[in-house]
Symmetry: C2
Subunit: 248 residues, 2 copies
């Protein structure tokens, strides 16, 4: 089978190298990933400047890699529609991200932006994230879970299926299919002044899971399980819609 | 009341000037909008470089404006958490975008990224988009609908309510609350070579509404109605989840 891989930490990040190694057990692997960090890029696409894509010198059979100047979603579009347009993809994998994309982080995540683009392209997709920003984290305890999840998507996945997978650090207790938690960032803005006295700003914040439910991705992740949330592109709030009768 | 306004076409676009004019009928207006075009930026946030925000010389009472170097979502975070942190906002408005954000465009849209950020911040929010890229489009036929929709959100909106509003060009037949269409882009990649013979790429494509339902935003928009879709941040695909029993 043909497997497309991208990420948002950039093509040289340890997480994508680990994911490529696992994916090669399942088929031929085609990589288009950002040439540098693209975290927090969500579903952004590049419209105002053109993109570059540079083939990397890879000498292993069944593996082709390009480094792309665009966002993770750009990488998917460029890969599926141009660079590998003669290779119908059976599966799209994104990650392994350094940092959790559980709960509402799915909205900000470039890793998940790329995976969700799989729905648009009719390719079953999985985004993998590890719940730590530690660039040197050991992926070994996660490898079996990643394999199992890929195997189940291959066995059961339909066109348009997309999973948001978050992996705890250390020993894994099991894998749980579950719902997205409603958690938020307690955001602060760091204000500094440049040498000319002009202000500039950095975003910073702490993630707060204030969702009391016990069937959510954040809950399972906090309790040592790999959390798998199936994701849809239909953002309609049907509960809100049912309240809107007669307003217009 | 205090109304926060942003957009993704930039602070000098005609659409946001029109929206500011309408919003001032309802209360004091606080603007933080991009200092240049930020279309297609989705829910992206800026992490790798700091942001700037420059106050504009506005001499009207009840109106304050900043031009920000970040994305639309950055503008919301910076505005609500720093620049106007002493002004609790009652309503967040984004737009009026030049170009439709109906159907799955909600995922790519910076206009809607900013509005959806309202849900994160507990502020009722509306994103407005006009179904044409014509920068010189006449907004007059849309003004009454925009007013009505703002009035209904003020009357009924709850914390976390967010509406994706798309407006047809020309005469408006009415306003419909409805669901998001499942439409896609038929994407092409334009490949060119620079003077040194190296390839570069542009995204281009046509929007295709292949959703046969007649209660969707794309359907109503195509038939001359303003379409209002309530949007949620919960992307869980519950139908897919119900199929996943026993897989892990």
């Amino acid at each position: 089978m043909n497997i497309f891989i991208t990420n948002d930490d950039g093509i040289h990040a340890r997480g994508i190298r680990q994911l490529i190694a696992i994916a090669r057990e399942f088929g031929d692997v085609y990589v288009v990933a950002p040439d540098g960090p693209q975290s927090g890029k969500s579903h952004a696409i590049t419209l105002s400047v053109p993109m570059r894509a540079k083939p990397l010198p890879v000498e292993e059979p069944g593996l082709v890699e390009y480094a792309c100047s665009g966002t993770p979603v750009d990488c998917v579009k460029l890969g599926l529609r141009e660079l590998f347009k003669d290779k119908p993809m059976d599966l799209l994998l994104s990650g392994i991200n350094h940092g959790s994309n559980a709960a509402t982080n799915v909205l900000y995540s470039g890793t998940m932006g790329a995976a969700i683009e799989g729905i648009m392209e009719g390719v079953p997709a999985i985004g993998f994230s590890m719940a730590t920003y530690d660039q040197q984290v050991c992926f070994d305890p996660a490898v079996d879970s990643v394999r199992t999840i890929i195997r189940q998507m291959i066995a059961h996945g339909r066109v348009g299926d997309c999973w948001n997978v978050n992996i705890p650090v250390g020993e894994v207790k099991g894998i749980k299919a579950c719902v997205q938690a409603h958690a938020t960032w307690d955001e602060r803005i760091l204000r500094r002044e440049d040498p000319h006295g002009r202000p500039y700003y950095w975003l910073e914040g702490d993630f707060e899971n204030d969702d009391p439910r016990t069937d959510t991705d954040s809950y399972y992740l906090d309790h040592g399980y790999v959390a798998v949330v199936p994701v849809t592109v239909d953002m309609t709030d049907r509960a809100a819609l049912s309240r809107m009768g007669g307003w217009f």
